[in-house]
């Protein structure tokens, strides 16, 4: 099935479309996008699911032109191709929050985001928070002051989530913070200290 869809240009029949999509599950959104394009002419060439995509990721203000397997997640692209390993893989399934980054200023799970989907959007990772002169973001400082981590593995995701949590207006109360930080697991269980850090950074921002 895959060979059919891949090698020969063929009409986008229902059979071909489903075959390609089910064989390479992760490529689904791309194919789906192609399928929704208005059909002009008699037939549309099926995209070659195996051809690498040329994408430029804009991460922390720097452009990174990359050639990627279309199934590559934003997380893997950052870690394996761009060399920014601050964003962590804890589950690859959107269950732990360790991979949280900002896309367009909003918190996003980079393991559930294909890299090709964010090609023209600004991405901010944990490495992009401190000032060039080394001064830490108030949230980073708050995490240090409140000892809001132990092993530190969930920390980049916690900090990216925490900043977004304040920006979203979800850090007004103790219970709001606990609720809106609950997408980020911390197995070391630094939770009370994370809440204290979010409050400290919030108050610095407001004060």
């Amino acid at each position: 099935m895959l060979d059919d869809a891949d090698d020969k240009p063929c009409a986008l029949s229902r059979r071909g479309f489903l075959g390609g999509a089910s064989a390479a599950g992760a490529a689904l959104p791309l194919v789906a996008e192609a399928a929704t394009k208005p059909r002009t002419g008699r037939s549309v060439a099926a995209p070659d699911a195996r051809a690498p995509a040329q994408v430029t990721l804009r991460v922390n203000g720097t452009d990174h032109p990359l050639s990627l397997d279309t199934r590559t997640t934003l997380l893997d692209a950052l870690r394996e191709k761009v060399g920014l390993t601050g964003s962590k893989k804890g589950c690859d399934h959107g269950q732990c929050g360790a991979c949280t980054v900002h896309v367009d200023g909003k918190r996003v799970l980079s393991c559930l985001t294909l890299a090709v989907m964010v090609a023209d959007k600004p991405v901010t990772t944990i490495e992009g928070l401190a000032r060039p002169d080394g001064r830490l973001h108030p949230m980073q400082q708050a995490f240090i002051d409140r000892d809001a981590f132990q092993c530190g593995y969930c920390t980049p995701g916690q900090i990216m989530s925490a900043i977004a949590c304040i920006n979203e207006g979800h850090a007004k109360t103790h219970s709001d913070i606990r609720e809106y930080m609950s997408g980020n697991l911390c197995r070391c269980a630094a939770y009370p200290n994370i809440v204290a850090a979010v409050k400290q950074a919030r108050d610095v921002k407001e004060g």
Partner: protein, 735 residues
């Protein structure tokens, strides 16, 4: 100073911020899978779909056709490559004696049956799914009560195992005025550190570098060498940061050797990041236990008889056990004691140590039973413990080096407001919520192992400490640096510490809460040698001035430290990967434990039976606390783990297929931020110079021992329902 950084009192050290804090908040801390290697290939594991049987055929055709696939390992081409896999408890390094890909045999669900190596992770994963395997399945045995399990007495399978006993339990129990006889269950649990099980292997000629998160640099180095049939000198293991371990990274898993073999075959570095799901079966876990506890007491609350029997699941080939009766038979003053541990072999992966391995399950049984006895006697549970408190363990009559358990109870009770508790179950309410207050005792054996370290003081004031110990969230960088700074009178800011590299002097496995006591005592010894060389014996004397006045550029000392009571040759053993811990109940003349008291408030909704934990209070006495800030965090994490083990965590097993069914972080429940509310930690100053020169007891595991019982006791107080089978869930209380 803030709640998070409690001021130093008594003999505590300063609450310095973590040495590695900046790296951890900037993404600069490099965990094993973050280490850059040149042109890596990517590995993906294929794991078995049955728990018992054999592989009949493997069809690699489709997998090999996936563009980018470089190599596929199966038992057909890898059966002879791994030389051995001796269990660490038998003097080896492994967490399992099962060697995957050695034959067509399948020992357990999720056993590695193939390894695909490809140009990209995506191609390796796709090819992994295209490996077609046919099995001949046999009916597996899943757990207790399954057909085909094999039960053995621990004493029959392990020469060194003792079932503590003293006096005449049967007689004393028969004639006891008040009795408790209850059976408890604790579930299968998986460590689930947020960092996955990763391995990157890179060969340069015949030299291998392994980047893998590990709690045992020298265990890995020696273990991998023996598995591959090469010399330990050919192996370097690097793991500067570990993203949580909790025991899961303390012994060798089969994936390491397989990744090394893959890298050798494809002629370039290979990187493996096992999936969360695979992590449940390619490493170890906490096995489920069943325990029967019998207590006999006089009417006035004096314990007269105690029996603790435990059954633990293990794999078919391995005799792994935690045997927590070693501790539970020694916690109270009672003249007639018996105990017995048995293991139950099933078709499962081999279990291993998980945070507070023996005490977490076994203290649940004991501390639940003590609460049951308090109700049977109509005595306050804290007063019952006070009545049976002791400074001597009952089995051999050995003295505790220190035991401040009642101080912990008193301090904790005061802050928790225990005196306002109405003892009658179901008697405290707040609107629709039934309120329950419960408590339990915590304990953890104080253990230490031989260690080595190198310390170097330079004339510019910089102090560097090198040792192959491990930063697993325990604050190792911080406390090790702090002790060196203190000992030589150098500012903390001038210290650098390097850990997690087998090129440095050997340190023991970071398990059993031994790191701070073992490594810090060694570092102190190296610092003292520097002082001695400079002739500065006054602890306030200026070593730096002395160094300069002697015209020295730097002075460096390597030290080897052995705790009292370890056999000769222990340092050589350390360098060959064996930790040889001592202390706890191993000492011939005294017994060493840290203690604590935990208090839990639960609220159970009277209609829905939803369970919340609005308050957690823990008070602990663990000898000298080197850094109250990092210590508080670790104890806090432990307390939350305890709540988790009571209310959240359980790996569910399909008993027909002997397979785990909730193998991910959505289905394997751990607490999230919203589950935890108010939490207080008290550290009771305690001086104990018998345990080791610095008087450090270790705290990594203390926080979660007993907490599960405190929760269950609180649930009983709220509802009148005694739950003896963890975890306690809404549906348990509705039933």
């Amino acid at each position: 100073m803030s709640v998070e950084a409690p001021a130093a009192t008594g003999n505590m050290g300063e609450p310095h911020p973590r040495f590695d804090a900046r790296l951890k908040v900037t993404g600069g801390a490099r965990y094993a899978s973050d280490m850059p290697v040149d042109n890596p290939a990517y590995a993906y594991l294929v794991t078995s779909a049955i728990a018992r049987g054999r592989i009949v055929s493997i069809n690699l055709g489709e997998a090999q056709n996936v563009p980018g696939v470089l190599h596929i390992m199966t038992h057909e081409n890898t059966s002879k490559d791994v030389k051995d896999s001796k269990l660490f408890s038998d003097g080896g390094f492994s967490g399992t004696s099962i060697i995957p890909l050695q034959s067509d045999k399948v020992w357990h669900d999720g056993q590695i049956v193939a390894v695909v190596v490809a140009e990209t992770y995506e191609a390796a994963r796709e090819a992994g799914y295209r490996v077609k395997i046919e099995y001949e399945a046999e009916q597996p045995s899943a757990t207790f009560e399954s057909n085909g399990v094999q039960v053995q007495a621990a004493a029959d399978v392990k020469k060194t195992h003792e079932d503590p006993k003293v006096g005449d339990f049967d007689g004393a129990f028969a004639s006891a005025e008040v009795k408790v006889d209850a059976t408890y269950f604790t579930p299968t649990q998986h460590h689930n550190p947020i960092e996955l099980f990763t391995t990157t292997c890179a060969w340069a000629g015949d030299k291998l570098t392994v980047y893998e998160p590990s709690q045992t640099m020298y265990g890995m180095k020696n273990g991998i060498a023996s598995q591959l049939g090469i010399e330990p000198e050919q192996v370097r293991v690097v793991s500067n940061f570990v993203g949580g371990a909790f025991g899961s990274k303390g012994s060798l898993t089969p994936r390491t050797a397989l990744t090394a073999i893959a890298a050798r075959r494809v002629g370039r570095p290979v990187k493996l990041v096992a999936t969360r799901q695979q992590g449940f079966t390619i490493a170890t876990y906490r096995a489920e236990t069943k325990q029967r506890v019998r207590l006999g007491a006089s009417r006035d609350g004096k314990l007269t008889a105690l029996s603790h029997e435990g059954w633990e699941v293990t794999s078919r080939p391995d005799n792994y056990m935690v045997a927590g009766t070693d501790a539970t038979t020694r916690m109270y003053d009672v003249a007639n004691v018996q105990s017995k541990v048995s293991i139950v072999h099933a078709d499962r992966n081999t279990p291993g140590f998980m945070r507070s391995p023996p005490e977490l399950p076994y203290m649940f049984g004991l501390e639940s039973a003590i609460d049951e006895l308090a109700y049977a006697l109509d005595i306050d549970p804290i007063e019952l413990r006070r009545k049976n408190d002791t400074m001597k363990e009952p089995i051999k009559g050995l003295p505790y080096t220190s035991r401040s358990v009642m101080q912990c109870f008193d301090e904790g009770a005061k802050s928790f407001g225990w005196s306002k508790r109405e003892p009658k179950p179901g008697s405290m309410r707040d609107g629709d919520w039934l309120v329950g207050l419960g408590c339990a005792m915590s304990c953890y054996p104080t253990q230490m192992a031989p260690s080595s370290a190198r310390v170097r003081l330079s004339q510019n004031g910089e102090l560097r400490v090198e040792t192959a110990s491990h930063e697993i969230g325990n604050g190792a960088y911080t406390v090790i640096g702090q002790i060196a700074a203190e000992r030589l009178g150098v500012p903390y800011e001038k210290v650098s510490v390097v850990l997690g590299d087998s090129d440095y002097p050997a340190a023991p496995v970071s398990g059993g809460s031994i790191t701070t006591a073992s490594v810090c005592n060694c570092v102190a010894e190296a610092c003292d040698a520097i002082r001695a060389e400079l002739g500065i014996n006054d602890p306030k004397g200026d070593v730096l001035a002395a160094l300069k006045s002697r015209g020295r550029g730097a002075i460096e000392r390597y030290a080897e430290w052995t705790p009292k009571g370890v056999p000769d040759g222990a340092l050589a053993k350390l360098y060959s990967g064996q930790a040889m811990p001592t202390g706890g109940t191993k000492d011939k003349e005294r017994i060493m434990f840290a203690f604590g008291a935990e208090f839990i408030e639960v609220r159970v909704h009277q209609r829905t039976r939803e369970i919340r934990v609005p308050r957690i209070v823990g008070a602990f006495a663990a000898g000298r606390i080197v850094n109250p800030r990092t210590a508080r965090s670790q104890l806090m994490g432990g307390l939350i783990w305890g709540v988790s083990s009571a209310l959240h965590e359980a790996t569910e097993i399909d008993k027909r297929a002997a397979r785990y069914v909730n193998k991910d972080l959505a289905e394997y429940l751990v607490p999230v931020n919203a589950d935890i509310d108010q939490l207080e930690v008290f550290m009771i100053p305690e001086e104990d110079h018998e345990v080791n020169p610095l008087g450090i007891k270790g705290i990594g595991e203390l926080g979660n021992v007993g907490t599960n019982a405190a929760v269950a006791n609180a649930v009983y107080h709220a509802t009148g329902k005694r739950i003896r089978d963890l975890p306690i869930r809404l549906e348990t209380l509705l039933a």
